[in-house]
C-alpha cells in the first residue's frame, strides 16, 4: 500500500459502515484499501464523490465484494485520494449500501473475518486462499533482527522433530506449516506471511526445544533472525507466573495443532473426549476469572453445530479462563472447559499478568499476539476438519 493515505486507521475503531458514512459526508474521491490479517490480499472500494461505485475482494467484484467487506471487522483501512475512471457498477445510494451491508452482517449472511471471539454468536471463519489459511503478522521491529536469511521455493526451513532454538520473523514472503500425520505423509495446516513468527517461545524459556512442525518456503522467502538472548533475558526478568503463562500459551498452540492432525486422521478416541467430565466454563458465558490448574485435568473443547470438538487438555500449572490482553479464540467465549473428577484449581489475578505483559518489548508482544491469532485460527481449522471427518460435511 502506498504511504500517501489521506485518511487511515483501524476498523475495530471505525467500522466500514461508519467509514463510508464519513467519506460520504466529505465527498471524497479515491480508493479505500482495507487489509486484514485474516485475508491474503486487501479489499478495495472505489469511491466517487463520497459514493461507492465499485469494489473488489479476491475474485468478487462490485456489490458482492462491497457487502463481503462488511464482514472484515478487524483490520486496517487507508483512503487514497485519486481520480476514478471506473464505471459505476453499484448504482445504489450510500445509505442503502451501508444499512443493507450491516443487515447482511447481522443476519450472518456475510462471512466474518476477525478474531474468533467477542460475545457475538456468529462463528468467525478463516480466509481461505487456496485451501490453507494464511495469517499475517504485525509490523516488524527491526531492532531485534540480528541476521537475515533467504530461502527459495520449496526449501525446508525447519524440520519437525529436530532440535532448534532460533526464532525468525518473516520479513517478506509466505511459508507453509505442516505436520506429520499418524498415517504418514504431511498435513498442511496453515500458511503464515509477512510479520509472522517461526519458532516457539518455549525455546526462550527452556533453552532446548524440539520443533513441533515442518516449515517450508512458498516462493522466495526472506527471514529475519531474532535476538534470542535479548528476549530470553527480557523474559527472565518477569515473574515466574508470567513465564508459566507464556509456556502454557505455547503448549496450547501445540495441542491445538496436534488435535487438528488427530481429528484429520479420524482418531476414534475423540468421540469420548468429554465423556464423564463436568462442565466448568460453558462456551459463550461471560467468565471474567482466570484459573490455574493445581491437580487433575481441564479439557478444552469447542461446541459447534457438528458436535463437541476437542481442542486440548490442560495439566498442572496451566492457565485457563479470561485473559484480558490476548485473544486466543477459545474459552470463555468460543470454547468450554470440562473438568476431570480430580481437578483442583486456584484463582489467579489477571491484572498481575497484565502488568507483566505491559512491560514486554514490542517484539515479544508481537510474538504473543501472533501466537494467540495462530491458536485461534488453528482451533477453527480443527473444527473445520471435525466437520468434514466426523459430521461428514465436506463444504
Amino acid at each position: 500500500m502506498a504511504g500517501n493515505a489521506a485518511f487511515a486507521g483501524n476498523l475495530s475503531f471505525l467500522n466500514l459502515g461508519e467509514l463510508i458514512q464519513l467519506l460520504g459526508t466529505n465527498g471524497g474521491t479515491g480508493i479505500l484499501y482495507i487489509s486484514s490479517t485474516y485475508a491474503s490480499q486487501p479489499g478495495l472500494i472505489y469511491i466517487e464523490k463520497g459514493n461507492p461505485i465499485d469494489a473488489a475482494n479476491g475474485t468478487k467484484t462490485g456489490l458482492d465484494a462491497l457487502f463481503s467487506l462488511f464482514g472484515w471487522i478487524d483490520g486496517q483501512f487507508e483512503f487514497i485520494q485519486e481520480d476514478i475512471t471506473r464505471q459505476n457498477v453499484i448504482n445504489k445510494s450510500r445509505m442503502e449500501l451501508i444499512l443493507d451491508g450491516l443487515r447482511l452482517l447481522d443476519e450472518g449472511q456475510v462471512e466474518v473475518l476477525g478474531p474468533a471471539a467477542g460475545e457475538s454468536e456468529t462463528e468467525p471463519t478463516v480466509a481461505k486462499s487456496g485451501s490453507v489459511p494464511l495469517i499475517k503478522g504485525p509490523l516488524v521491529d527491526y531492532s531485534y533482527v540480528v541476521d537475515e536469511e533467504g530461502f527459495y521455493n520449496g526449501d525446508e526451513i525447519v524440520q519437525e522433530g529436530n532440535h532448534g532454538n532460533w526464532i525468525w520473523v518473516i520479513l517478506e514472503g509466505v511459508v507453509e506449516i505442516s505436520r506429520e500425520t499418524p498415517a504418514g505423509g504431511a498435513l498442511k495446516i496453515l500458511r503464515i506471511g509477512d510479520g509472522a513468527f517461526l519458532g516457539s517461545v518455549t525455546a526462550l524459556l527452556k533453552g532446548d526445544n524440539v520443533r513441533s512442525a515442518t516449515v517450508t518456503a512458498v516462493g522466495n522467502v526472506h527471514l529475519g533472525m531474532l535476538d534470542s538472548q535479548l528476549m530470553t533475558s527480557e523474559l527472565a526478568n518477569l515473574t515466574i507466573d508470567y513465564r508459566e503463562f507464556v509456556r502454557c500459551l505455547d503448549e496450547r498452540m501445540k495441542q491445538a495443532t496436534k488435535m487438528a492432525v488427530d481429528i484429520y486422521a479420524g482418531d476414534k478416541k475423540i468421540a469420548d473426549f468429554v465423556k464423564g467430565k463436568k462442565i466448568l466454563i460453558k462456551q459463550g458465558h461471560a467468565e471474567k476469572r482466570l484459573f490455574r490448574v493445581r491437580a487433575g485435568q481441564a479439557h478444552i473443547a469447542r461446541e459447534t453445530d457438528a458436535g463437541i470438538v476437542p481442542i486440548g487438555c490442560l495439566q498442572k500449572g496451566d492457565y485457563f479462563g479470561h485473559i484480558p490482553f490476548l485473544d486466543i479464540g477459545q474459552e470463555p467465549y468460543s470454547a468450554s472447559i470440562f473438568a476431570s473428577p480430580d481437578l483442583k484449581l486456584s484463582s489467579m489475578d489477571p491484572q498481575e499478568l497484565q502488568r507483566e505483559h505491559d512491560k514486554l518489548s514490542s517484539t515479544l508482544k508481537n510474538i504473543l499476539a501472533h501466537l494467540s491469532t495462530s491458536i485461534s485460527v488453528t482451533t477453527l481449522i480443527a473444527c473445520d476438519f471435525y466437520n468434514k471427518v466426523f459430521a461428514g460435511n465436506s463444504k
Partner: protein
C-alpha cells in the same frame, strides 16, 4: 452529536424513530416522506429487516432556518429492534441527536411498549447517551383505531406507563392518516435545535 460539514456549510444531525415492532415507526417516516416532499432530499432507502423495515432519508426542515450560517440537514431513521441487528442499531443510534419514541395505543401492546422503552434506555447507554438528556419526544400512535371498536389505552394511562419519569413532550397520533406526525417531528426538531445551539455555544 451533530456533524458540521464546512464544505457544504451544513449541520448534519440524526433523528431516530424507535419503538416496538409494528408500532408505526415506518408509517411515520413514510408519511413524512410523502407529505413533506419539498423538504425531502433524495430517495427513501428501505431495507427489509426481519419483522420490520429499516428506513432512511435526508430531510431539510425549512422552518429551522440557518444556524451560524449553516443549513440544518436532518437524517431520519428507523431502527430494527431485534437483538440480532446489533451493527445496524449501532450505526443508527451512535451519535443520535434526537429520538422519537413511537408507542402503540393498542391495549394488547402495553407490555411491548414498556419493554421497547427499557430497551431504548439500555441501547442509548451503550453508545454513551442518556435517555434523560437526549432530545426525546413520544407519540402515542394508532389513535384512529378507537373508531374501529378496538380497545385502546387512554392517553392518561400511556403517560403513566411511559412518561412518568421522563416527562418529555408527547402527542397522540395516527401515522396512517398523518394526524400528529408533523407535530411530533416538529417538536423533536425544536428540542434538537435547542440542544445543538447549546452544544455549539459551549464549544465556543
Amino acid at each position: 452529536m451533530a456533524i458540521v460539514n464546512l464544505k457544504k456549510r451544513q449541520i448534519e444531525c440524526k433523528i431516530v424513530y424507535y419503538g416496538a415492532g409494528r408500532c408505526g415507526k415506518t408509517t411515520n417516516l413514510e408519511y413524512i416522506h410523502k407529505a413533506f416532499k419539498k423538504q425531502v432530499k433524495g430517495e427513501m432507502v428501505s431495507i427489509n429487516t426481519d419483522g420490520d423495515r429499516t428506513l432512511f432519508f435526508d430531510f431539510l426542515p425549512l422552518e429551522l432556518g440557518k444556524l451560524k450560517g449553516c443549513d440544518v440537514r436532518v437524517q431520519l431513521y428507523t431502527v430494527p429492534g431485534q437483538v440480532r441487528y446489533e451493527s445496524t442499531r449501532k450505526l443508527v443510534l451512535r451519535g443520535a441527536d434526537g429520538i422519537v419514541f413511537v408507542a402503540d395505543s393498542l391495549e394488547v401492546r402495553r407490555e411491548k411498549n414498556m419493554l421497547a422503552l427499557k430497551d431504548l434506555h439500555q441501547n442509548l447507554k451503550e453508545y454513551n447517551l442518556s435517555i434523560f438528556k437526549v432530545p426525546l419526544v413520544m407519540q402515542f400512535n394508532k389513535r384512529d383505531l378507537s373508531d374501529a371498536n378496538i380497545t385502546l389505552m387512554s392517553l392518561k394511562q400511556m403517560q403513566h406507563d411511559l412518561n412518568r419519569q421522563l416527562k418529555v413532550p408527547c402527542f397522540p397520533g395516527s401515522a396512517l392518516t398523518g394526524d400528529g406526525v408533523g407535530k411530533t417531528l416538529n417538536a423533536c426538531l425544536r428540542l434538537l435545535l435547542k440542544s445543538i445551539q447549546k452544544e455549539l455555544n459551549l464549544d465556543g
